[in-house]
């Protein structure tokens, strides 16, 4: 077991974690602002991957898929919020949860009907194939690219939240939607955008993940479980928490796979149990929010 192998595996975990961050961020933003536990989030991750594959095949370019799929699926997310979820605001938290749970199945079955049961390969774009020698080891270029894209998205999100008018509305609306209403802000419109943003992020995660694995109708199931673990560890509704915990879980899974492969899937649940015991609100969560 040499340092080079450990470094490569560590990096592999970072790439895996970066995908998780995209999924968990969307989940966390939607929960934090709308109070909706979006159980369709994994299915939308999968839809993002299929949409990316579809557009990439149609245009012959991965780049179009990467650009168009998150936007299209994000717009689809806005439609879901407007038509299905909005009537449920003000009701118990179970109602949107059950609705999105069912919606997830509908999406998976629809994709099965349209594209079949079998997994489909999503080729790595030729520009990003191969490995790069970074001095401490050889790293797949595509994974470097994934980490880079996620870093750019996080930077844009941060700038958007901290430096723009819309960001101010989102930050304040997450804390106190009622005061926003009496200050003249149409909170319903903000929630529509936030839901679209969250869904767009998970769809982007799906497209980015696709070349590192195959695309199949069930690909969102495990990702959803992982993203829930990430939001619980990071703290429900905390964006910084989703980022830190996403990377942590990615690295934990990856390193366990190296040293004790049979433990790789349960390590995240063990970590979650540990965090829940020591700090029930999550690493960056605020106590008292259900």
């Amino acid at each position: 077991m040499d340092a080079e192998l450990i470094a490569m595996q560590l990096f592999s975990g970072v790439a895996l974690g970066a995908i998780l961050v995209m999924v968990a961020l969307g989940l966390s933003i939607i929960f934090g602002m709308l109070g909706v536990v979006n159980f369709a989030h994994g299915a939308l991750f999968m839809v993002g991957a299929y949409a990316g594959l579809y557009v990439a095949t149609l245009t012959g370019s991965f780049w179009w898929g990467l650009l168009v799929a998150p936007l299209a699926v994000g717009a689809f997310g806005m439609l879901i919020e407007r038509v299905l979820i909005r009537p449920l605001y003000g009701r118990s938290i179970d109602d949107p949860l059950l609705l999105t749970f069912g919606l997830g199945y509908v999406l998976v079955e629809t994709v099965r009907i349209l594209f079949g049961n079998e997994g489909m390969p999503f080729p790595t774009p030729p520009e990003l194939a191969g490995v790069a020698d970074l001095g401490i080891g050889y790293f797949p270029i595509y994974r470097l690219f994934v980490v880079g894209v996620v870093a750019v998205i996080l930077l844009l999100l941060w700038l958007g939240l901290e430096k723009t008018r819309f960001g101010l509305i989102v930050r304040a609306g997450a804390r106190d939607p009622q005061i926003m209403r009496v200050l003249g802000v149409d909170v319903a419109r903000v929630w529509l955008m936030v839901f679209g943003l969250g869904v767009g992020l998970t769809a982007l995660g799906g497209v980015l993940a696709a070349p590192m694995r195959s695309v199949d109708p069930e690909m969102g199931t495990l990702v959803l479980a992982e993203a829930f673990v990430v939001t619980v560890i990071g703290g429900m509704g905390s964006l910084v928490g989703a980022i830190v915990a996403g990377l942590l879980i990615g690295i934990a899974i990856s390193m366990t796979a190296l040293f004790a492969p049979e433990m790789a899937t349960i390590v995240m649940f063990a970590l979650m149990a540990l965090v829940l015991l020591i700090r029930p609100q999550g690493l960056f969560g605020k106590p008292g929010r259900a």
Partner: protein
């Protein structure tokens, strides 16, 4: 035309019927004090005007526009601002950002920096703390911030729910002077207060609410002099 005209207002919290056909008019440029015991329906009246009650019927007109069918955010945009009792300074935001919230719905034409400079001149205590977290301010300063946030977009009318509550007397006097100045500039104020004496000294007219209905309406000076009615409806 009255600035605010409430006619036959009924409001409910779930099954509990709180306002029973309440009627009340506020003329442009006056300060009206709305007083009464705890639970009489003062806050509910204000919340109904702002569109925050789950169910309200009757008629509420603001500068001639019927409010009840409008969502809360549209009411603010007509020039109707609200300072809630709990002040609702948003956690995680600086004093400056809390002020910016008051400008979100204003005309894009309004110069944000000038508006904040302007408000900082009115509230020197806030000026020194613009970049501090809003929730770290003292209670009185938070109240000033809540008022500043409500008036920064220059509303025509401000509804204030117990602004003097839990605030040092010297700040309460400062606040009274500010309200008088706002009135002199033509802003209409509806003031819900437990501090009856202070409210009556400040206001032009006074209205007493009891069990969801208006039971007395007169000049503030007349009510201030009438200890019997005060005793009957406002004694704690």
């Amino acid at each position: 035309m009255a600035m605010l005209e409430i006619d036959g207002l009924n409001a409910w919290y779930g099954a509990s019927h709180v306002l029973h056909g309440l009627s009340l008019a506020v003329e442009p440029g006056e300060i009206v004090a709305l007083v009464g015991r705890n639970g009489a329906g003062k806050t509910t009246t204000i919340r109904s005007v702002m569109g925050l009650m789950p169910k309200a019927t009757g008629s509420v007109r603001f500068a001639g526009t019927e409010l009840l069918p409008l969502p809360a955010h549209a009411r603010f945009r007509l020039g109707l601002a609200y300072v809630p009792e709990e002040r609702r300074i948003v956690p995680g935001l600086s004093v400056r950002e809390n002020l910016q919230l008051g400008l979100l719905a204003a005309d894009r034409g309004i110069d944000e920096r000038a508006a904040i400079d302007d408000i900082a001149r009115t509230f020197p205590r806030l000026k020194e703390r613009l970049d501090q977290q809003g929730v770290t301010l003292s209670g009185g300063e938070q109240q000033m911030l809540a008022i500043a946030r409500a008036m920064i977009a220059r509303p025509r009318m401000i509804l204030l729910d117990e602004p003097s509550e839990g605030i040092m007397p010297v700040l309460v006097e400062e606040m009274g002077a500010l309200f008088r100045r706002l009135r002199d500039e033509g802003v209409t104020l509806l003031l819900v207060e437990q501090n009856v004496e202070w409210a009556l000294r400040l206001a032009d007219r006074a209205v007493i609410i009891d069990q969801g209905e208006i039971v007395h309406s007169s000049s503030a000076a007349a009510l201030l002099a009438d200890k019997a009615i005060q005793e009957r409806y406002c004694a704690v």
